[in-house]
């Protein structure tokens, strides 16, 4: 959207219609000038894949690629929700155990009360919403720092989870719908239909935007660039889907494993929804505004408290979906579901992707990319088969390397003056 201006008699900042070349040029300048978005994180991701790929062949197999989706799902979902919370400069330490509690509620309703999945899943999501609402209320209305509120909730939910599970039992689920969520794949046909829908949808949105801007005489991106973007997406999706629709069963004689994992479109749907909400709706604009300068937002008449509550609701809601998927993946729930490093990994995912802990800066896609970085490290590291101690150390080092790629490129940009 950065446009160039030419002198105009009206004194109004008017703009020349850029060409594809000038646009690319401007993009490059922008990249060099510091407006780099998630580029460094993607770069880091590529570096990681090269490292692991050269160390272990299996890393680049279709099976392993498919594994990545379900392995990263919980962290990605929690991180997507955390992006909203972080955008306001708040933190939610309880997201991990909140996802555990929601997962447990679903499991209990399914297993012990015989609810159908279409009752249990919404109940789990509702639990997430209620949790978020309570947290938000405490933060926004009582003014307790979110770190403290969610630290208390972190402890509390851990206890709730233990009590729900009767002191420490594991509860198995066997509802086939729920089990499929994290463990099954779309059929090959469905996979390709999804790809087509996605590409066409993206194209429609892009062209619509151009049309509406052009009709007002505003600067539009040159057609070439738009086509390149659409083409890029198409190529990416087609290659990924081609890989994923290959047979990757360990035991092809017994069963066939093909198609895009179901979690992939679920992630995509939420990514699209939240990106839309943040980028194109009034609510999203207000979230950024409150995060950037809450006093300015208040003066602009934005209901700051309500926004604050809402981000916690979104955070916990997304955590609940993460919980549903993790329970689906594990076929069971235990008192440590959502514990361990899940929380730190989720916040880390959002931050690595470029979300600021101080609010006002971040995108939902960051969480997905950051989650992918974390999942790739985890995935690759377990393939390496190091001893526990070494594994921790190498994981830490690799995380640092991935983050330095990001930091150094941003720093380079910053030295050009942008702050």
């Amino acid at each position: 959207m950065s446009t160039t201006t030419t002198p105009a008699e009206t004194g109004k900042p008017e703009v020349a219609k850029p060409t594809a070349a000038s646009h690319l040029n401007a993009y490059w300048r922008r990249v060099r000038g510091g407006d780099i978005g998630s580029l460094p994180a993607i770069l880091g991701l590529i570096v990681l894949c090269l490292i692991f790929g050269s160390a272990r062949e299996t890393f680049v197999s279709a099976l392993n690629f498919a594994n990545l989706f379900s392995q990263s799902a919980q962290v990605i979902f929690i991180a997507m929700g955390l992006v909203f919370v972080l955008l306001l400069g708040e933190i939610d330490l309880s997201a991990g155990f909140a996802s555990g509690v929601c997962g447990a509620i679903m499991a209990i309703l399914l297993a012990d009360h015989g609810w159908p999945w279409w009752g249990a899943i919404p109940a789990a999501m509702l639990t997430g919403v209620v949790i978020g609402f309570m947290l938000g209320l405490l933060v926004a209305k009582l003014g307790i720092p979110s770190f403290v509120v969610t630290l208390a909730a972190f402890l509390g939910f851990q206890g709730v989870l233990l009590r729900l599970l009767g002191g420490g039992k594991n509860i198995s689920i066997n509802n086939s719908f729920v089990l499929k969520l994290a463990n099954s794949n779309l059929s090959v046909t469905m996979s390709w239909i999804m790809v087509i829908v996605a590409v066409l949808g993206y194209a429609a949105v892009q062209f619509n935007q151009i049309r509406s801007r052009a009709s007002r005489g505003l600067v539009t991106d040159p057609l070439g660039i738009v086509l390149m973007r659409i083409g890029g997406l198409a190529v990416l999706l087609v290659v990924a889907t081609a890989v994923l629709t290959h047979e990757r069963s360990i035991n092809p004689a017994i069963n066939s494993v093909r198609g895009v994992p179901i979690v992939a479109p679920i992630i995509a749907v939420f990514l699209i929804i939240w990106t839309f909400v943040l980028g194109r709706t009034r609510y999203g604009r207000h979230v950024y505004a409150v995060g950037g300068n809450s006093e300015a937002a208040r003066r602009a008449g934005i209901p700051v408290d309500r926004i604050r509550i809402s981000v916690f609701v979104i955070g916990s809601f997304m955590a609940s979906i993460g919980g549903i998927l993790i329970v689906s993946r594990a076929n069971s729930v235990d008192p440590n579901t959502g514990g361990s490093n899940i929380l730190l990994y989720s916040v880390g995912a959002a931050v690595i992707g470029g979300t600021s802990l101080f609010g006002g800066k971040g995108k939902v896609i960051n969480a997905v990319i950051g989650g992918a970085v974390i999942a790739v490290i985890d995935n690759g590291m377990t393939l390496m088969g190091y001893a526990a101690g070494t594994k921790y150390i190498v994981t830490g080092l690799i995380l640092l390397v991935a983050a330095s790629v990001d930091a150094l490129s941003r720093r380079r940009a910053a030295s050009s003056g942008a702050r």
Partner: protein, 348 residues
């Protein structure tokens, strides 16, 4: 405010009503096994209640700072007997020393505190548990008739000393097989915090890396279930034997379904009863008579008077023993889905 679960026995200060002193019990965590969260508190409380002895049963949640804080609290409350399941020998010893200085009788429950000098020791042999797991896996693999099967090991938390002991046990069985070429040693990784979710990821990666895995030594039922969920995803469940431990409902069901090969049943009630019997006697100021065995503390070289119990290996045909023991109920295990399997295995 404290009318919860096990907590309500410790109201008021000690020694005001009954002649017996109070007993303090510190359990280690709620993650390494479900027994510490559910079974032990239940059985211990039953036993103490029956004897009319006040007891304060608490769980350190895997945090050794907590562990010591709880011990401090119990000592200041004036317990007469302190029974601990240590998180590690160092902290355990610190607590035991403090207790002894305060003139409190001490019992090591389930885990021996090395060089701790507890007065009594009640336990299953953790190395023996590991051995049973190893032997169970060997049995299941030979039943399947696999030739040179690749065996993956999914160990417990790297920070848990018990996990090390289990591993000692099963490696003592498996290592000779690897050495003889009968089995092939596959990937071998620890699962931080006994975290089932991480266990699932780790096993998924093991399987991706080494698709010929034919047997899995999972350190407990929770990890076993995580392994089975990955196997199910790849439709390999039932073909790859998986071990477990603790005889949880989940584990037993997995066994009945044929997805898990065996679990190790530690008759927790027996252990709890033996320990509480000791504690009750000590609390009443009597000298216990049940501690007939001894265990040699490998560090101090001292013999600790002990009650030692034997773990049992459980397979589909012996699930009924666990139910008969009252450790789990038939209703819990034989849900609609497992009814057939139950009747087939003689559970009525």
């Amino acid at each position: 405010a404290c009318g919860d679960d096990s907590g309500d026995t410790s109201t008021g200060s000690s020694g005001d009503s009954s002649s017996a002193g109070m007993v303090g019990v510190i359990l280690p965590d709620t993650k390494s096994s479900q027994r510490w969260g559910t079974d032990d508190p239940k059985f211990l409380k039953q036993a103490f209640d029956a004897a009319g002895v006040q007891a304060d049963i608490q769980n350190a949640q895997g945090d050794k700072t907590q562990f010591q804080t709880i011990a401090d609290g119990m000592i200041s409350q004036g317990v007469k007997v302190l029974m601990i399941v240590n998180l590690d020998s160092g902290t355990g010893k610190a607590v035991l020393d403090k207790a002894k200085n305060a003139g409190i009788a001490t019992i090591d429950y389930d885990r021996l505190t090395l060089n701790g000098g507890a007065d009594y020791y009640v336990s299953f042999d953790n190395v023996a548990v590991g051995k049973l797991q190893g032997e169970g896996l060997v049995q299941c693999l030979s039943d399947k008739g696999y030739d040179k099967p690749v065996v993956a090991e999914l160990n417990g938390s790297p920070t848990d000393n018990n996990a090390t002991l289990f591993k000692q046990g099963y490696d003592s069985v498996l290592q000779p097989k690897y050495d003889s070429g009968e089995f092939v040693k596959g990937p071998d990784q620890s699962v931080p915090d006994w975290d089932n979710a991480q266990g699932g990821t780790i096993f998924e990666q093991m399987l991706t890396q080494n698709q010929k895995i034919k047997g899995v030594l999972a350190a407990n039922d929770g990890l076993g279930n995580a392994v089975i969920s990955v196997l199910k995803k790849n439709k390999l469940n039932g073909q790859v034997p998986v071990t477990g431990q603790d005889a949880t409902v989940q584990g037993l069901q997995n066994i009945l379904a044929g997805d898990q090969c065996m679990t190790v049943y530690k008759a927790i009630k027996q252990e709890a009863d033996a320990a509480s019997e000791l504690a009750i006697a000590l609390a009443k100021g009597e000298k216990p008579t049940t501690a007939t065995g001894t265990t040699k503390d490998p560090e101090s070289g001292k013999d600790v008077p002990s009650v030692l119990l034997q773990p049992k290996s459980i397979t589909a045909s012996t699930v009924k023993d666990v139910i008969a023991d009252g450790f789990v109920t038939k209703e819990q295990v034989c849900t609609a889905q497992f009814a057939d399997a139950c009747s087939k295995n003689g559970i009525s």
